[in-house]
């Protein structure tokens, strides 16, 4: 029973979307199902947040190496949640504005002064690591690697103004930016299309297996 009910729900919801796609008169059912999904997804965010908190508490209580990071997660989680849930604001708006995103709110301050710089810094580090990885990995070891290396150099130069500055004397269509466009519009496009079609076919077959109850791994089956 613990498996049959989730399988029935999965099959029923899947069938709704298949039927309503082909029979427009039944679209109102799809609207209701979509509302349900939006509500469930909103709860899923809570579930994810609480799960993060639970795992962090368990990690902290185990006192294993790295438990300090869990403590930081818990403290930051609670402060941010409190700022978002409680009607607290900074400065002259203190306790007067219930919109957590209002100008000068504590939540906005945390976002602008803590989250934005930390998030941007972490991502910005990529530029340095990509440069270092390129230096070590881009070697013309064989024909395929040389092709990749050449395409990468054309893209890197063609996607910045320097490419046209170097090859500006060439006729239109022969500049590095034009070559970068050719790479994007033909080999990249063809490769992406093949990948997308493959993924789409995989999604359709997996979805059918789920709707028909053949795929049972999500309810703990084989």
């Amino acid at each position: 029973m613990r498996r049959q009910i989730p399988l029935l729900i999965t099959g029923f919801v899947g069938a709704i979307y298949i039927v309503t796609f082909f029979i427009p008169a039944t679209r109102f059912v799809e609207t209701i199902a979509t509302d349900w999904i939006l509500i469930i997804q909103a709860f899923a965010i809570w579930l994810g947040a609480l799960n993060l908190l639970k795992l962090s508490i368990m990690k902290l209580s185990s006192r294993k190496p790295g438990a300090g990071y869990a403590a930081i997660v818990i403290v930051c989680f609670l402060i941010t949640a409190a700022a978002g849930l409680a009607p607290i604001t900074r400065g002259e708006h203190f306790l007067s504005d219930h919109n957590y995103l209002a100008e000068n709110s504590t939540f906005e301050w945390i976002y602008n002064s803590v989250y934005v710089p930390l998030n941007a810094t972490m991502f910005a580090l990529l530029a340095f690591f990509v440069a270092s990885a390129s230096y070590r990995a881009f070697r013309a070891r064989n024909r395929e690697a040389t092709l990749l290396l050449g395409a990468a150099c054309v893209m890197m130069l063609g996607r910045v103004p320097l490419g046209d500055a170097i090859t500006g004397f060439l006729p239109e269509g022969w500049t590095l930016s034009a070559w970068a466009d050719v790479i994007m519009n033909f080999p990249v496009l063809a490769g992406q299309r093949a990948i997308m079609i493959g993924i789409a076919l995989g999604i359709v077959s997996t979805a059918l297996r789920l709707v028909l109850g053949i795929e049972r791994s999500h309810v703990g089956g084989d």
Partner: protein
Amino acid sequence: MFERLLALDRRWIFLFVAVALTIPFFLGLSCKSYVSPEVKALYAALEELRPNSKVIVSFDYDPASEPELNPMADAFMKYAFHHRLKLICIGLWPQGPLEVDRCFNRVLADPEIQKLNPVYGVDYVNLGFQSGNEFAIQGMGASIYNVFPNDMRGTATSQIPIMMDVRDFSNVDFVFNLSAGYPGTVEWVQVAVDRYGVTLGAGNTAVQAPLVYPYLGSGQLKGLLGGMKGGAEFEALSGHTGKATKFMVSQTFAHLVVILFIVMGNVAYFAAKRKGGRA
């Protein structure tokens, strides 16, 4: 010597990249961008919109992608205000509505935009975040009021002047999606364009852009701003020179440094190989 080059401490590379990125800020250099066909196509699609056209702008990114997407968001907003387009901003990422606010704060600080005197609720609105990813888009196809019942200030969406006649996608003239991943442009194409016939343009991070090129080729996506370069090209076309144009100089220098290191690495690799050393 070549062996030492092959084993170069990566901190030297970091140093050169840092110098390449920061020095151009102090030199005041500028460069002219070649405008790619996908940016021209987006601009042409926007030029077809009449004043008072309703445009949904979906901010689907977080601060990590701000350097690439903020300049194009700013340029797009400025273009929209100058052309009297009505902006309905949403976020399918939780950070989206905050990015909307940050964008409006920057754009509305511009004296040229202040002269136009855009009014919240009449010329632009921030409807906030809705969870559900592609299901939120699908829900908007049936009823925007249902998916976004209130704006960020708590006003009922149906009571906001700009939203009074915008019930679903059939009342929207254009959608512009700023995307750094999932949910993003792919989902907007698959649901809003394919199911509801929405006209869609997008601004993506450079890493994300190749993933949506198939939709450009098929015409499902009207135009695309790819990475900072796309932002700089849009700034050039719209005449609002901003951060993307300025930052392109840094990006140019950084690319140059990376290419020089790749060339240096290959020279060292082949020289070491010829000598029978480590490679």
